[in-house]
């Protein structure tokens, strides 16, 4: 699992690459802590190359979303595949995030 963070002005883009399973979530939790610092602006989670997400991963997403909400920022989830979309649907995450293709 790999996370590439790229900040331009107030927009921070995090590219998530690989399988975000439980151990991976523990692996990248530091990256998400880092992302929280940008939560006052716009954080784009680019999921173009995200193959799988476990509930631990979803929890990371939700934590970021909560931080953004408290700081007045915005979290955009970009380009999720159909499998992850259905997980988002099952969990109600489609309503919590701005989803972009």
């Amino acid at each position: 699992m790999e996370v590439k963070i790229n900040t331009q002005d107030t927009v921070t883009t995090a590219q998530l690459i690989g399988r975000l399973d439980t151990p991976a979530s523990q692996e990248i939790s530091g990256d998400f802590d880092n992302l929280m610092n940008y939560a006052a602006g716009t954080v784009i989670l680019d999921c173009t190359e995200l193959e799988y997400i476990s509930s631990s991963g979803l929890r990371l997403f939700l934590s970021l979303r909560k931080a953004a909400a408290s700081k007045g920022g915005n979290v955009i989830v970009k380009a999720i595949n159909n499998e992850i979309r259905s997980v988002f649907m099952m969990t109600g995450f489609l309503n919590l995030f701005e989803i972009r293709d």
């Binding site: 399973d21 439980t22 151990p23 799988y52 939700l62 997980v87 969990t91």
Partner: protein, 788 residues
């Protein structure tokens, strides 16, 4: 109608009063009349006898005077036999001295005085005060042949003649009927020389006797020795008829007996009919004569005063009774007038006009009281009817509400049977027959996470209170069992909720079971309910149950949980005491023995599906109860476990240590299993997600940090579905007992946790947790046909 009745009542009462008074009068007067008649009779007899005695006394006096006069003259005559002419003087002298006398003869034997020739009888006659004297003997009046001369000569003693009529054609004589006292004259030698005779006028005697008249219509008679009437008011009867003469024509024993009595010289009174009248005849003899004097007194004369009295009294009584009848009748009519009004008003009220105004009676008598009582009653009825009307309206409303409540209560019970048509491992049937509109029995069941949660209960008491508790109990069962799988905890929580502030002291006997469908393991807790029966292929018997208090009795009670394995095809039969205690008309109870009999019979026939058992029990209990009323709710619930081992076509397993790092190994395993069973990519990812969540949960929660343990994932497939059984030996951890997350909440409100089990439920078709033999066993099933 009322008027007529009332009139007849007053008449009737008056008639009765008058009738009784009349009877009393009649009895009293009868006695009185009888007594007074006797008294009057006695008095009359006494009176008449006295009068008769006086008369006889008078007659006797007269006759004694005559006798004495004759005796007094006798010695003069005897001394002067030598002087015939002095006889004329003597006879005249007697009449002079005794004005009552009619005549006097001093008659001698023929040729007694030689110088006077053949006849010498000195006779003096009182011709109305003038005394005529003559020598009466002559050829046409040969006196010595006459009775008055012959009788003393023959009898040789003085005697009275029968009345006779003297007739001397050549000389003076009495023109009247006379009687004579005759005394023989004798010389010194005692030789009869003549008769000294003194005459009494019968008319005079008759007048004397007839003057005796004690009653206006009474009269006197005198008969001689032969029964000849000497004195009688009917002069035609004198001397020619005797007292016996009428009896010759018509035998009259009373008259004959009277005649004989008078002839015999008796004294007394006879009661007999004389000339057609009831009469009393008082009679007494005149001494020395053989004559008898009688006074004939008509009874009606004697009793005339008495009859007058009777008539007056009768008149007064009759008039009095009639007056009484009228007065009573009118008084009673008047007294009953309020009753009549009351009757009329009562009829009006009876016709339904309850508002008819009744006057208040001022009279304090019974009728007044009746009137006032009736008035009170009417007011009471009006009031009661108002209340009844209100009560009926209220009752109607309550009935309506009860009907709605009944509907609501019915709707709270499972009512779609079979309830799980798409499952082949479980069959359930239940039936509740309430005794009233609403009742306190309950049953419920549903499947969650491959477990059948079921309960049956009976709230103490009946009716609305019981139904409320029933509703609460049922709701709590659902709410609590939604995330609490262990029956003892379910019941404990219901108990705590109910026992707290249980002011009505209601309680519930409750049986809660949780049947694990994949394994057939039954966990159950019985809170004071009847033990269920198990009916299976190998027999029928009771499920052993611990004795726990009913729910709601004591807060904090520690309920015990029990566990057993249910063999395939076995039916758990649950019921309430409405079945065991169903009573027939003689109050005998259906009882456990009949339930067992029926169960054994069905077991013997190998037909014990839930529907068969409950139908059969229902028929049996109905046949037993017969005509008797259903006294309690009758509830039955039957659960048949029908799972059979199916053909396993695929089986693999993986054991991991509790290390997060082992998750990719798990993912690989799942991918392989899913691919082998033909799931598409999307499903494979989701299944991976679900299993990963379950396994990570175990790693995180069943094994506390720092402890080591294994997690086994066993995958099986029967061609229709794949089951994943995740087991571990960690501490009990039931992920299904977690509350559902609400996915509709905003980001701020959502909690970070709880997503895992939510996803598992979303992704898998069945989720089931079991804790058995120190293992947490989580079974997740995914159907192969649901997603392509």
């Amino acid at each position: 109608m009322g008027k007529k009745k009332q009139k007849s009542l007053s008449t009737k009462i008056s008639l009765w009063i008058v009738l009784f008074s009349g009877l009393i009068f009649l009895a009293a007067l009868g006695l009185f009349f009888n007594e007074s008649r006797l008294a009057v009779q006695k008095e009359a007899i006494k009176n008449a006898s006295l009068i008769l005695d006086n008369t006889i006394q008078h007659i006797n006096t007269i006759m004694t005077e005559v006798t004495v006069a004759a005796e007094n003259m006798d010695w003069l005559v005897s001394r002067h036999l030598d002087d015939p002419d002095s006889m004329l003087v003597y006879s005249r002298q007697i009449l002079k001295n005794n004005p009552n006398l009619n005549g006097c003869s001093i008659a001698f034997e023929p040729y007694f005085f030689k110088n006077k020739g053949l006849y010498f009888s000195a006779y003096s006659f009182n011709d109305n005060g003038t005394i005529l004297t003559t020598q009466e003997g002559n050829d046409h009046y040969q006196y010595w042949s006459l009775d008055w001369y012959q009788l003393p000569k023959l009898l040789d003693r003085p005697c009275w003649t029968e009345p006779f009529s003297d007739f001397n054609p050549d000389d003076i004589c009495s023109p009247e009927m006379i009687i004579s006292y005759c005394k023989p004259l004798k010389d010194d030698e005692g030789t009869f020389i003549g008769t000294f005779s003194v005459d009494l006028s019968l008319r005079w005697l008759s007048q004397t006797i007839s003057a005796v008249k004690p009653y206006p219509n009474s009269y006197s008679i005198m008969i001689g020795q032969g029964g000849t009437f000497f004195v009688h008011p009917d002069s035609t009867k004198l001397f020619y008829q005797t007292i016996f003469t009428p009896s010759l024509l018509e035998p009259d024993t009373a008259m004959i007996s009277l005649g004989h009595a008078m002839q015999a010289g008796e004294e007394g009174v006879h009661e007999l009919e004389v000339d057609g009248n009831d009469s009393y005849v008082f009679f007494k003899p005149i001494k020395d004569t053989g004559w008898s004097v009688g006074i004939v007194c008509p009874a009606k004369d004697i009793f005339s005063g008495y009859y007058r009295l009777i008539n007056s009294i009768f008149g007064i009584v009759v008039v009095g009774l009639l007056l009484m009848l009228m007065i009573f009748s009118s008084i009673i009519t008047k007294q009953l007038e309020p009753l009549e009004n009351l009757a009329y008003q009562a009829e009006t009220i009876a016709s339904g006009q309850f508002d008819e105004e009744l006057p208040e009676s001022e009279n304090n008598d019974e009728i007044g009281q009746l009137n006032n009582s009736f008035r009170n009653m009417q007011q009471s009825i009006v009031r009661q009817m108002e209340e009844l009307k209100m009560a009926n309206e209220q009752k109607g409303r309550i009935q309506g509400e009860l009907a709605v409540a009944s509907g609501i209560q019915r709707s709270m019970l499972p009512k779609i049977f079979p309830p799980f048509p798409d499952r082949d491992d479980i069959d359930v049937f239940g039936r509740l027959t309430p005794a009233k509109e609403v009742g306190g029995d309950l049953f419920d069941f549903y499947i969650r996470d491959e477990k059948l949660f079921f309960c049956i209960g009976d709230v103490s008491g009946k009716g609305v209170p019981a139904s409320l508790v029933m509703a609460v109990t049922k709701a709590q069962f659902r709410t609590i069992s939604a995330h609490e799988a262990s029956p003892d905890r379910i019941i404990s929580r219901i108990n705590d909720a109910m026992a707290e502030d249980n002011e009505s002291n209601m309680f519930v006997t409750l049986f809660v079971g949780a049947l694990d469908l994949p394994t057939g393991r039954l966990h159950y807790t019985n809170a004071g309910h009847d033990a269920p029966m198990l009916i299976g292929n190998t027999g029928a018997g009771m499920l052993p149950v611990d004795s726990n208090l009913p729910v709601g009795v004591m807060p904090g009670w520690k309920f015990s949980v029990q566990e057993t394995m249910i063999d395939p095809d076995t039916t758990i039969f649950l019921y309430t005491d409405g079945l065991t205690e169903a009573e027939d008309i003689e109050h005998r109870q259906f009882g456990m023995s009949r339930i067992k009999e029926t169960a054994l019979e069905l077991q013997g026939k190998r037909i014990f599906t839930p529907l068969t058992i409950i139908d059969r029990m229902t028929d049996e209990v109905h046949a037993f109860v017969g005509e008797a009323d259903q006294s309690d709710d009758l509830t039955m619930l039957a659960v048949q476990y029908t799972k059979h081992n199916e053909n396993i076509t695929y089986q693999r397993s993986l054991t991991l240590t509790n290390d997060i790092k082992r998750v990719p190994r798990l993912n690989t395993f799942i991918d392989e299993v899913c691919e082998a069973n033909g799931f598409d990519m999307a499903s494979i990812m989701q299944i991976n997600l679900a299993i990963e969540e379950a396994v990570v949960n175990v790693m995180n929660y069943a094994y506390p940090a720092g402890t080591k343990g294994d997690i086994t994932v066993e995958a099986k497939s029967n061609g229709k579905e794949v089951s994943f059984v995740i087991s571990d030996t960690g501490k009990p951890f039931d992920p299904t007992a977690k509350a559902e997350v609400d996915i509709t909440l905003s980001a701020e409100d959502r909690s970070i946790g709880g997503l895992g089990i939510h996803l598992i439920r979303q992704i898998m078709d069945h989720v089931n947790y079991e804790r058995a033999d120190g293992h947490n066993i989580l079974t997740l099933i995914k159907k192969m046909t649901t997603e392509s």
